[in-house]
């Protein structure tokens, strides 16, 4: 439904949305409404989005350390861009090469000085001198090349070790983030379990192949719901959607978004009276979700 005039409710939703203060459910609904092309809500969203963007501009500036700039550019060297322009390094090399002028070429050594004739080898030996010099130069070049190659190999190995260490650090950080998230989730669940007012809904798959395993913790005092579980990847063209079962109706509780491992942890925050909540269910719906569950539900459970 598109609106034809601004109301306080529209302003409120747009204002809360740009601040990220809406519940997941409300934010999803507002985004879907914007996608539907409501010009009134779009205008309010843009207005408040611009305002929110300026709130941050009021903070005092703080100078950054110089090394951060170096770190940034070291980091983006590992962040390839497909449409990257010509590398400045290449340009520099090319320009340096172009700047080498003939006049800068080392001058030819002067003709042999008369004194040098005293120490000059006999004519026969002198005729071999160019070959000896050439051989020495070849050996020197070979040794130089070998040394350079070894240094280059060492540099490459060091670079590879550094890259591997950085990759390990990145993986470790990701692992720590995952563990931190899990720890936070456990804290919330422990808190819910410690509350005698908490009731649990065990969602069980209707068919073994659906692969859904989840539990919802309902804090009946605060009206909060937490869901933790394991979900299979969304099938092609379908998404998992959660429903809360109230007398006579199924209330949309939002789309279920699992991480890459299929793990789900979500807070369900919807503005409805849950006092008569009897259970929950999961269905597969088209992208964006549905207003009513599409049968058959793939998992369901009752309040225990």
């Amino acid at each position: 439904m598109k609106h034809d005039r601004v109301t306080g409710e529209i302003q409120e939703t747009a204002a809360l949305y740009v601040l990220g203060a809406l519940s997941q459910f409300e934010a999803g609904a507002f985004e879907a409404h914007l996608r539907d092309g409501c010009p009134v809500c779009e205008a309010e969203f843009r207005r408040f989005d611009g305002t929110a963007g300026q709130i941050g501009a009021g903070v005092p500036e703080v100078e950054t350390s110089a090394y951060l700039r170096e770190l940034l550019f070291a980091r983006i060297e590992r962040e390839p861009q497909q449409e990257s322009a010509e590398s400045p390094v290449v340009k520099e090399t090319q320009s340096s090469a172009a700047e080498v002028k003939p006049s800068e070429t080392p001058a030819t050594p002067p003709a042999t000085a008369p004194l040098s004739n005293i120490f000059a080898p006999p004519a026969q030996e002198r005729s071999r001198l160019p070959w000896v010099v050439a051989a020495c130069l070849a050996i020197a070049a070979g040794l130089g090349f070998f040394a350079w190659k070894q240094a280059d190999d060492n540099a490459k190995q060091t670079g590879e070790k550094l890259a591997a260490a950085q990759a390990d650090a990145t993986n470790l950080r990701a692992l720590i983030d995952v563990q931190r998230d899990r720890s936070r989730e456990l804290e919330q669940i422990n808190s819910a379990l410690a509350n005698p007012a908490t009731r649990i809904i065990h969602l069980q798959s209707q068919k073994a192949e659906s692969g859904v395993s989840a539990a919802i913790f309902w804090d009946t005092q605060k009206g909060r719901l937490l869901m933790i579980g394991s979900f299979p990847p969304d099938p092609e063209g379908r998404v998992h959607q959660l429903w809360l079962l109230l007398p006579g109706i199924s209330v949309n509780a939002g789309l279920v978004r699992a991480d890459s491992l299929g793990h789900v942890f979500m807070t369900i925050d919807i503005p409805v009276d849950l006092s008569k909540l009897s259970g929950a269910s999961i269905s597969l719906e088209p992208p964006g979700g549905s207003k009513q569950p599409t049968p058959p539900v793939i998992a369901t459970g009752k309040v225990s």
């Binding site: 203060a21 611009g50 703080v62 100078e63 550019f73």
Partner: protein, 196 residues
């Protein structure tokens, strides 16, 4: 820092910053350096305001500009200004990190109070940046303390209206109304930035 961080109601053309982002999208490192030099003090100030930890704020700052490098092609000047784009990205990173760090409310509140006190005593330079800060701060000052509090808790702390209501011991509906009235007032005072 030039036109990039000018306030909305005296915002000049931001073509230079938008052009830099366009160049960054095509792999121009020099453009990234220019954008970083002109915008990082504000973005770092913002991230520090959210996180209150210098070391973590530095890590997040690097993440932000790395994302600028990677996602410059997604910047659409018809949708928002470079400043709003950067601040939006910075807020996402900072608030996500804040949630990850799970800081104690009281500890931050104390740090914030100390920082505000220190700030109040500091003389401000007579620059465009100071003028920008003054305008935004005066707009925030024009709000009622309750309105300002809920907006700052949502914006800088990344709290939902239900979380704010829980912390303040107020009904969610009251928090929503305060946010709406406060944001409407701010919008009237600051205007909407030209999307350029």
């Amino acid at each position: 820092m030039t036109e990039l961080t000018q306030p909305a109601n005296m915002m000049g053309p931001q073509d230079a910053a938008a052009a830099q982002i366009k160049k960054i999208a095509s792999g121009d490192r020099a453009a990234l350096a220019q954008l970083y030099d002109r915008s990082s003090p504000l973005i770092f100030g913002f991230v520090l305001r959210v996180l209150r930890d210098h070391g973590i704020a530095e890590e997040v700052l690097l993440d932000i500009y790395t994302e600028v490098w990677r996602k410059a092609r997604t910047f659409d000047p018809s949708r928002c200004s470079p400043l709003v784009w950067l601040l939006s990205m910075a807020r996402t990173h900072a608030v996500n990190r804040l949630h990850g760090e799970k800081r104690e409310f009281s500890r931050r509140e104390q740090a914030e109070t100390e920082a505000e006190t220190a700030k109040a005593g500091a003389a401000e330079p007579a620059t465009v940046e100071a003028e920008r800060q003054r305008l935004v701060r005066s707009a925030l000052d024009a709000l009622s303390p309750e309105q300002r509090q809920v907006i700052e808790l949502a914006y800088f702390w990344g709290l939902s209206h239900c979380e704010i209501a829980s912390r303040l011991g107020q009904p969610p509906g009251t928090v929503r109304t305060r946010i709406r009235l406060g944001m409407t007032r701010l919008s009237d005072l600051l205007g909407t930035p030209v999307a350029k």
